[in-house]
């Protein structure tokens, strides 16, 4: 890479949006370059301008946006001033782009073949016939089975991962010099993400195509990129080689990003607080004077009142920070090495069921929630009038016990039934079979009247901070109505006092009470949502992916809040998430779910130190770690394919279709959930073999 020539040079790029309410300076003086064959990562929170920068490179800015100044030189030619014909040649021919959401990026009414072929034919490199042949080849290369059939399919016949492969095939079809991938894996599950990242790395190596990867996830960036550009508030704040930048950030913002995420490989027992930075990113319509990060920066000095320039601070590294430019260092946090993996027990304690064991185990305290073999089947709408009704086996026989005061993490890929399980527990759904007991009361089929008093004790926090608050109600009503419903306050004054108290508990000011949800940011809304759950003073909270819609820094704030609340109010959590690092961080015990069944249950540390189920192992191995050095060294268990449909579940072990160590036996019988080591249960015929 020493002789690398820059193929793309962006100099002082400014892209503004002339909206009705004023000029939004989304990209405000960005410079960077990409060398031939290089993989460059651009990282930043939402609103940092990273996506607009990428779109500006191929001049795909929607109205009312405009590139107002700067130069984008692609192999010496200025993209900003290109005429329409030249620009068309440039787009798709020399630079390809892959967007975030594979579900919407393909035209739903056109066959895959047409969408691939037109790309190639439009640039005149292939005849229609040759293009079709190449389309089949490319799909095969991207790892799509039966590519000949696949080209004749429509996009809806593919899963998200497959569609992203098609998008990549489309991107590479004209062998571009540069591929811009805008959050290409954000919408995908972690195992699929790993597959796509592998593919990107291979393609980079095979085709020599340079890649700009845009992501908010430092782990993903670390996985692929050799160089990283960090953006904040429309500017580049730091730039440098991946390894050194991630190991030794020189901008407080980078530092904060790195420390806000819990890490899989690093766990400090006892200390659960994450390092967060206060506040929210500044308003792009009105950037603050001086360093734009100053207001939130824990290291700010007087000089920060002046706007710093992006200055080289080491060979290949630059930062826009007065502190580090003057030799200041940013403290190192965490860094505890991984504990040595424990050895699996020679044999499982056969014959004792998980349910029986939990019932017997009185040592861990009071069993608050006891779920026995619970099932939830959703009948699907009939496709034909006389046709057989098909059934979705969302949750298909799950045992789960939660003890008072603990946090149980529930992990699994999307569609594994974790959210359904959460909703069964709070009885939003009625179970198809099995039993649920809460605090000793059977609530499996309890009617609303019976369950109402229990509602006070059992609450839920939802994933989407936008959908989970009624937009027509003020915060006062959102928090006050439940109080009145349950007769917890006697009059208006008492109610509003309690509402203020709740707002204070979740870190919001009392003024928030009179406002509507849309006046708050995502993080603040999630705080309101938490306050609503706390309003009725519950003892048990089901938290359904409470942070997955938030930026990393806000995630850290919410995690800290949840942990804090647990301590203050002696809460018990069932914490549902797909992010293994977060689950590990907050949970005492972890339950791994796959296709509606429990695969493994273990204390958090034990699960990560020594996963026994091949699925758990592959999940852990697929999760990227924001450390380029570690990422490069890691050995991975790669899962092939995608999870089967919960409508037609595989016989025997549900995981066998993707399991690297599946044997004949696995197809014949479903392994029971058995205790392998004390407190560590696994449903596998060959635990720990992988």
């Amino acid at each position: 890479m020493t002789d690398a020539q820059p193929i793309l040079e962006v100099e002082d790029l400014r892209t503004y949006f002339f909206s009705d309410s004023g000029v939004v300076r989304a990209v405000d003086g960005v410079s960077f370059h990409v060398n031939a064959g290089e993989t460059l990562g651009i990282v930043g929170e939402s609103g940092s301008g990273k996506s607009i920068t990428a779109k500006s490179v191929i001049r795909l800015i929607d109205e009312p946006g405009r590139i107002v100044s700067g130069r984008i030189a692609f192999r010496g030619r200025n993209v900003v001033t290109m005429d329409a014909a030249r620009l068309r040649k440039f787009r798709g021919g020399e630079v390809a782009m892959v967007f975030q959401d594979p579900m919407t990026s393909l035209n739903p009414v056109l066959r895959i073949a047409r969408q691939l072929v037109e790309t190639m034919v439009a640039h005149g490199r292939f005849t229609k016939k040759a293009a079709l042949r190449r389309a089949v080849d490319l799909l095969g290369r991207m790892g799509i089975n039966a590519p000949k059939r696949a080209v004749d399919s429509y996009p809806h016949e593919f899963s998200g991962g497959m569609r992203q492969r098609v998008m990549l095939a489309m991107g590479f079809s004209n062998e571009p010099t540069l591929l811009i991938a805008d959050e290409p894996t954000t919408a995908l599950d972690v195992t699929i993400q790993a597959q796509i990242l592998d593919l990107l790395r291979e393609l980079n190596a095979d085709f020599g195509t340079a890649i700009i990867l845009i992501s908010h996830d430092l782990g993903v960036i670390a996985n692929i990129c050799s160089r990283i550009v960090v953006m904040y508030a429309g500017e580049v704040v730091e730039e440098g080689p991946a390894e050194s930048l991630l190991a030794d950030p020189r901008h407080p913002y980078t530092w904060a990003l790195l420390n806000a995420v819990p890490r899989l490989d690093r766990h400090t027992p006892g200390e659960k607080k994450l390092i967060t930075i206060e506040g929210t990113p500044p308003d792009p319509a009105d950037w603050p004077a001086g360093c734009r990060f100053r207001a939130r920066c824990p290291f700010a000095i007087e000089a920060c009142a002046e706007h710093p320039a992006l200055t080289a601070i080491a060979p290949g590294r630059a930062a826009r920070c007065w502190v580090t430019q003057r030799g200041g260092a940013l403290p190192k946090v965490g860094g505890g090495a991984t504990a040595a993996p424990a050895q699996p027990a020679a044999a499982a304690r056969a014959g004792v069921s998980y349910a029986a064991a939990t019932a017997a185990s009185a040592t861990r305290g009071e069993v608050l929630l006891d779920v026995r073999d619970v099932k939830k089947h959703f009948p699907l709408p009939k496709t034909t009038f006389f046709g057989e009704r098909r059934v979705l086996h969302a949750v298909d026989g799950v045992d789960l016990a939660v003890f008072k005061g603990e946090t149980v993490g529930l992990v699994g890929e999307s569609g594994c039934g974790k959210s359904t399980l959460g909703r069964l527990i709070v009885r939003l759904h009625e179970p198809t079979a099995g039993q649920i007991a809460y605090g000793g009361v059977d609530i499996t089929h309890a009617d609303p009247a019976t369950i109402r008093p229990l509602r006070r004790r059992l609450q839920m926090i939802f994933q989407d901070p936008y959908a989970s608050l009624n937009p027509r109600m003020t915060v006062d009503e959102i928090l006050g109505w439940p109080l009145k419903l349950h007769g917890m306050t006697q009059d208006g004054a008492e109610t509003s006092a309690r509402v203020r108290e709740l707002l204070d508990v979740v870190g919001l000011s009392a003024q928030a009470a009179g406002r509507f949800p849309h006046e708050f940011s995502g993080g603040q809304r999630q705080r309101i949502s938490i306050a609503r759950a706390l309003a009725v003073s519950p003892e048990f909270i089901v938290a359904d992916e409470p942070i997955s819609a938030l930026d990393v820094n806000i995630q850290a704030q919410i995690i800290n809040l949840l942990i804090d609340l647990q301590r203050r109010f002696a809460l018990t959590y069932l914490f549902i998430a797909h992010d293994l690092a977060v689950v590990r961080h907050v949970s005492d015990r972890i339950v791994v779910l796959y296709l509606g069944k429990v695969m493994e249950v273990a204390p958090a540390a034990a699960l990560f130190d020594m996963p026994l189920h091949p699925y758990t192992k592959s999940l852990i191995s697929a999760a990227p770690i924001p450390d380029a050095a570690i990422e490069r060294r890691r050995e991975r268990v790669r899962l092939t394919g995608e999870p089967p449909s919960a409508i037609d579940v595989p016989s025997g072990c549900r995981f066998r279709t993707r399991c690297p160590i599946a044997a004949e036996r696995c197809a014949a019988e479903m392994p029971p959930l058995a205790e392998n080591r004390p407190g560590h249960w696994v449903a596998c015929h060959f635990p720990g073999k992988l």
Partner: protein, 289 residues
């Protein structure tokens, strides 16, 4: 682009007057037209210089003059006065059909979507049934069965009017139903009635209001149409559709049919402008369009 150029671009984009006009101009114009007709309905006796029912056959079919600004009709009645008074029936008919239809349809559709299952199935079949009636036959049959008259015509229109609201309310409630805030309300222990009427329907009301506004014009059109066919009002009640019908044969005396028609056109356009405006206002996504 220089700094000055950016300022210019920004100024041009956000020129407050242009922006204001673009966003509020048409809805405001529509609002003014509607206000005018409301005023006419309320103040018709003050605004018109003749009794709308005053028959003066000696002065029949006078072209517009200073005495009769819009001329006189076949019975010598002042067209202007009748057009002004005509706004009463049109507005009353439009509002009562749409409001009653909307409330009835929304409650039915809301309950069906919320309850799902049999109730929903039944309601949807019922709306299908009403929708496949030939509307003219139904309206005429009902008008014939009940007799001609404003109230009866409104009833006839209501029979065919509510299903579209039921359908819209159903789809809106279905969307809202699956929102997490509804689940949250369940988890908090709120009852079904509270959730449907206090939480779900208020959130579904936006598109309904847009539809109601756009629909008002439509209802006025349909009522005028039925009236034109002789199924609307009992004479000598001044009504625009009936007035067009009276003047339909009078090609030479164009003023008899033209002005009431223009009145219908203006009020319907007014409601359309306002409806579009409300939609843009309620749905910022649509505003971009």
């Amino acid at each position: 682009m220089s700094a000055a150029a950016i300022e210019t671009a920004a100024a041009e984009q956000a020129s407050p007057r242009r922006r204001w006009l673009r966003r509020y101009g048409l809805p405001l114009a529509g609002g003014c037209v509607i206000l005018f007709w409301f005023a006419a309905a309320l103040l018709a006796p003050v605004m018109s210089s003749y009794n709308p029912d005053f028959v003066d056959v000696a002065n029949r079919l006078q072209p517009p003059t200073a005495r009769h600004l819009l001329g006189t009709d076949a019975l010598g009645r002042d067209v202007l006065s009748r057009v002004l008074y005509g706004s009463r029936i049109s507005l009353i008919a439009g509002f009562s059909v749409v409001l009653v239809g909307a409330v009835f349809g929304t409650v039915l559709g809301g309950i069906a979507a919320y309850a799902r299952g049999r109730a929903e199935e039944l309601l949807m079949r019922l709306t299908d049934l009403v929708l496949c009636f030939p509307p003219i036959i139904l309206a005429m049959a009902i008008a014939a069965a009940l007799g001609i008259g404003t109230t009866n015509t409104i009833i006839a229109m209501l029979v065919v009017w509510w299903p579209k609201y039921a359908r819209l309310a159903r789809s809106l409630v279905l969307v809202q139903r699956s929102q997490e805030y509804v689940e949250a309300a369940h988890v908090l222990g709120f009852g079904h009635a509270h959730i449907l009427f206090r939480q779900v329907i208020p959130n579904a009301i936006g598109p309904l209001i847009v539809m109601v506004t756009l629909d008002l014009g439509n209802a006025i059109l349909v009522f005028a149409g039925l009236s034109f066919l002789g199924l609307g009002v009992v004479p000598p009640t001044p009504e625009w559709g009936a007035m067009v019908a009276e003047g339909r044969e009078l090609v030479q005396q164009w003023w008899v049919a033209t002005f009431p028609g223009l009145a219908i056109l203006s009020v319907v356009m007014g409601f359309n402008f306002v409806g579009d405006g409300i939609r843009d206002w309620l749905d910022p996504h649509a505003r971009r369009r």
